[in-house]
Symmetry: C2
Subunit: 100 residues, 2 copies
Amino acid sequence: MADELYKALADPTRRTILDELTEQSGQTLFEICSRLAMKHRLDISRQGVSQHLAVLEAAGLVETRREGRYKFHDLNTAPLRQITERWLGTDPSGPDKENP
Amino acid sequence: MADELYKALADPTRRTILDELTEQSGQTLFEICSRLAMKHRLDISRQGVSQHLAVLEAAGLVETRREGRYKFHDLNTAPLRQITERWLGTDPSGPDKENP
DNA sequence: ACCATAGGCAAGTGAACGCTTGCCTATCAA
DNA sequence: TTGATAGGCAAGCGTTCACTTGCCTATGGT
């Protein structure tokens, strides 16, 4: 899954999607589409965004839940920690207060 | 430069090069080549490795210094911090002891 | 001066990637 | 039931990417 994590981060549009989900998690595909268009002037097709979300989900950065005809996309930043753990050897969340 | 950082991390061979430089910084092109071949069974041409190093340097992840006919490649992990800072909102090195 | 070593430049190739277009399914409101 | 909304699948297209090959420059040992 590490491979897919780095691949997911490689695209600027996907990183912007992560930014949007950071600001408000649990958005639908159409919400993300319109935000990309409005706030970032990214006029990309709905399918394009959908494919990006699939890549992000494969990387574990986005988790989805279905409710009726809506599919909500939630952000999961946990996989990002392995990046700094790999080359910085540190826990990005900082020292554990219980075991300092 | 952020764009080049994520692009640099997208390739598995480049990530392995970072691993090798983490283990021992300041290696030459040929040293890196032979290590990739020996330790990781990656038989990639010298030019291929050279191009990877160029991408890593453009991302600021490796810095080079010339000495005679040798060019040493040093690891610089600093750019990695912006990744977790962007979506985790944390400093990977932990809280600053001066300003906690 | 010679030749091996360390590295660089540039063109070419095949595969992967981002994105679009067209059509199809499912859920909800009227 | 009809129509609108939310989303999915798959083929096609142009670009980027990783990698190779061939040739060239520069430094150092003998």
